[in-house]
């Protein structure tokens, strides 16, 4: 494969384009409402109405507006765009005949809705546009050009420099500067190195990575290949949770296609660069998203974290230097190389560059996936794009960062969404879950929900997290049952502090966050549930013996 061959594929694909394209979302969300049947019926209908010459029915990935699905988008050759929402399989004849001006009462959406219009798409640029099971489609929109550019025009160190300059930070939660991490792996001694893509995505309410993998698998593969070239690795692993069967099958197809075209394997673009990728499937433990647990799992061991240092960049898989990044992080790489670091750094704020994908869910009118520039005020996301809380209710709080994050109260909705601002409010950017809560929400219940999640998902290795989450959960439960006193609340706060500071890995260290953040902003909701202390306060939290007797 040479650049000419790549361009030829792109040209051929573009030349084959038909006048009208019916884009049918076949991502997990719409598939659960029988999008596969919709696609089949549309295909049959186009044939039946004799429109095969001008109409293409294309399987595409997620368009983002998942709450309105199943979605079918229409692209006309004059640039006109249409969107059908809540499509049912029996709507196919009407949709197809509408292309010839026939009557059609299928629910229409607005492709210019603020939900779409306010987005800036870098990672999800191809989502809902290309067929995720066709490498030619990906190549037609410029796919694998960045890899070619990196391999033939840039030295590995220059690739690292470009990523550093772009200001990209890890999208897996902690926001560690990606270029810095790549540089460390590149400098680590060793002739065997690995690149790992973290697709374990276990936060409740999060589905950004799933959507990227299902909608644009080649974008992730291309990012991994560029990373491997930059750090000197020849083997990659894609760790995907077993709950994502569609993502796994599309990745398998993508890897096969890339190998067939010589874009993975040996001698890529006729350079000495070799890169192979294998998929590893998680077995359902949230903690396996933690990098050291993930690597133990890839090695076939029980997935439990281990103390760092050594960091994976020095000693990762089988003791070799290993680069581990999140799906979305890798999805940013090809666009950065193709368009330049300066272009990327022009989006976002001073310390948070680029865009971030969020899964907007909860008590919000418009549910779905959005990609927004960093620094956008939270209010714009939930009110303009999300359309506010449904049923005329008020937004009370927005949860970001899942079980490691916190609840941002409505009075702080003008906060810009960037790493530092969210941290200052006791939450985190996290991986992109954004759950909106309205004024009917009981914040103590929310705290208990997340604590229960951490308690169930604790790996059990270290004592503070294993036993501490149970006690914190029980104390929250006691408060909710109106059986707790101020002393129990003090015990809860003490445990939050202890578990945060003594746990081995991020799961335990952040498990108290939802509780701490709701305590910070909604303390009165806790206090309202407390019972008077029959025994009077005593420092050690024990009932006074004398008053028991009295």
């Amino acid at each position: 494969m040479q650049l000419d061959d790549l361009n030829a594929i792109a040209e051929k694909e573009k030349a084959a384009a038909k006048k009208i394209c019916l884009r049918t979302c076949m991502s997990a969300g719409c598939m659960s409402s029988r999008a596969d049947v919709i696609k089949k019926n549309l295909d049959a209908e186009v044939k039946a109405q004799g429109m095969e010459a001008e109409v293409e029915v294309r399987r595409v990935g997620c368009m983002g507006f998942c709450g309105q699905g199943p979605l079918v988008g229409v692209d006309h050759d004059d640039g006109r765009e249409e969107l059908f929402e809540f499509v049912k399989p029996e709507d196919a004849p009407a949709i197809v005949s509408s292309l010839k001006g026939g009557p059609c009462d299928v629910h229409r959406g607005d492709p210019k809705h603020p939900f779409f219009a306010k987005q800036v798409k870098i990672v999800r640029a191809n989502g809902g546009i290309v067929d995720p099971e066709s490498i030619e489609d990906y190549i037609a929109v410029g796919g694998y050009q960045a890899l070619h550019q990196a391999l033939t025009e840039l030295k590995p160190a220059e690739v690292v420099e470009a990523i550093t300059k772009s200001g990209l930070r890890g999208r897996g939660g902690a926001g560690y500067p990606t270029g810095l991490k790549w540089g460390t792996v590149a400098k680590s001694a060793g002739n065997k190195k690995y690149v790992v893509c973290n697709g374990d995505e276990g936060d409740p309410g999060a589905f950004m990575d799933r959507s990227v993998l299902e909608s644009d698998p080649h974008l992730v593969l291309e990012g991994m290949a560029i990373a491997a070239y930059a750090v000197g690795a020849d083997q990659g692993f894609l760790y995907v949770r077993a709950e994502y069967p569609l993502a796994i099958s599309r990745l398998q197809i993508a890897i096969k296609q890339a190998k067939q075209l010589g874009l993975l394997g040996g001698g890529i673009f006729e350079t000495p660069f070799i890169f192979n990728v294998d998929i590893r499937i998680g077995a359902g433990a949230f903690v396996c998203g933690e990098e050291t647990a993930l690597m133990a799992s890839v090695e076939g061991k029980r997935g439990t974290p281990r103390p760092r240092p050594p960091f994976p960049a020095e000693s990762g898989l089988w003791g070799c230097p290993t680069l581990i990044n999140n799906v979305e992080t890798f999805a940013n790489i090809a666009p950065i190389i193709a368009n330049g670091a300066e272009w990327y750094a022009s989006f976002g704020t001073e310390k948070s560059k680029g865009t971030k994908v969020f899964a907007l869910t909860g008590k919000i009118t418009n549910n779905g996936l959005i990609e927004v520039p960093m620094g956008i005020p939270l209010r714009q996301i939930v009110e303009e794009m999300g359309g506010g809380a449904p049923d005329g209710r008020q937004i009370k709080s927005v949860q970001t960062g899942g079980p490691s994050g916190g609840c941002i109260p409505a009075q702080h909705l003008d906060t810009p969404v960037d790493y530092e601002s969210l941290t200052k409010l006791g939450s985190i950017m996290g991986s992109g879950g954004m759950v909106v809560m309205d004024d009917t929400t009981n914040m103590v219940e929310i705290a208990k929900f997340y604590m229960e999640f951490c308690m169930d998902e604790s790996c059990g290795k270290c004592i503070p997290c294993r036993a501490g989450t149970v006690q914190m959960h029980n104390l929250l439960d006691k408060i909710l049952k109106r059986k707790a006193t101020a002393r129990d609340l003090a015990k809860l706060e003490e445990l939050c502090d202890m578990v945060k500071n003594t746990s081995l890995c991020g799961l335990g260290q952040t498990a108290p966050n939802p509780t701490l953040s709701t305590l910070r902003f909604f303390r009165n909701e806790y206090e309202q549930l407390l019972q008077p202390d029959k025994f009077g306060p005593r420092g050690n939290g024990e009932p006074k013996k004398a008053s028991v007797a009295a």
Partner: protein, 240 residues
């Protein structure tokens, strides 16, 4: 190997490069509480009792897995560390069923000793009273899950000293538990060589010799040290 100089609790100390803070403290006669650490097997940093403060590092670091560094200032004792250690112990006592008065390890138990030494005189948390069983199917040994603190010392000696790979951890969170082979009764295990190293390694009354009654289960760690010294230093001598 290069030597590193550091201070532990203000005391200047020289330690070999690559040594852990725990080893350095031990050589200097400074006692740091530990539970999952066992001389002779690799450390996992799981119990968090050995956490220490290091100047310039925001996080607390486990002494057992942290390597010494030039100019490091370590503090092994503070109000905060003492509080955290006490809570850790309280959490353990509340987690399973520890009734010392009728335990085979009473008087020889590391957990009990730690509780005394850390001044833990009562447990402020709700006892969970979980339902765990006792496996007495093995010809020589027994396992009482009610006393297990999940330190994995038994697992590590079984895999890395004996090389049998019989013991393992199954389950997650507080449902984690020690299993033999593929979670079968110990007595039916094919891989167990009946060496008893796990019993020697266990800090509590969870693993015991059959026939020990209350307070009778004493360990002979010398046996383990003998094997490890023999293997690592090629010296066939007992530790003392």
């Amino acid at each position: 190997m290069a030597a590193k100089t550091l201070t532990i609790d203000g005391k200047p100390i020289t330690a070999e490069e690559g040594a852990t803070v725990l080893q350095a403290a031990d050589e200097a006669g400074i006692k740091i509480p530990t539970l999952c650490h066992l001389d002779g097997v690799y450390d996992v940093g799981a119990c968090r009792l050995c956490l220490v403060e290091v100047t310039g590092v925001a996080k607390l670091l486990p002494a057992c897995t942290t390597r010494v560094a030039e100019g490091m200032e370590v503090k092994t004792d503070s109000e905060r560390l003492r509080k955290y250690r006490r809570i850790t112990l309280e959490l353990l006592f509340a987690e399973r069923n520890h009734v010392c008065a009728v335990c085979v390890a009473n008087g020889h138990c590391e957990l009990q000793t730690l509780a005394y030494s850390q001044g833990m005189d009562h447990v402020r948390y709700e006892y969970l009273f979980p339902k765990w069983g006792v496996d007495t199917t093995h010809r020589l040994f027994g396992m009482d899950h009610n006393r297990c603190v999940l330190c994995t010392r038994c697992v590590r000696v079984c895999w890395h000293v004996e090389g049998a790979g019989t013991k393992n951890v199954a389950g997650r969170g507080t449902r984690s538990h020690i299993i033999t082979d593929l979670a079968m009764p110990w007595g039916e295990s094919d891989s167990c060589t009946q060496c008893g190293k796990c019993v020697q390694a266990c800090p509590t009354g969870a693993l015991f010799h059959k026939g020990s009654t209350t307070g009778e289960m004493e360990r002979d760690r010398g046996k383990l040290e003998f094997i490890v010294t023999a293997r690592e230093k090629k010296q066939w001598v007992t530790a003392d």
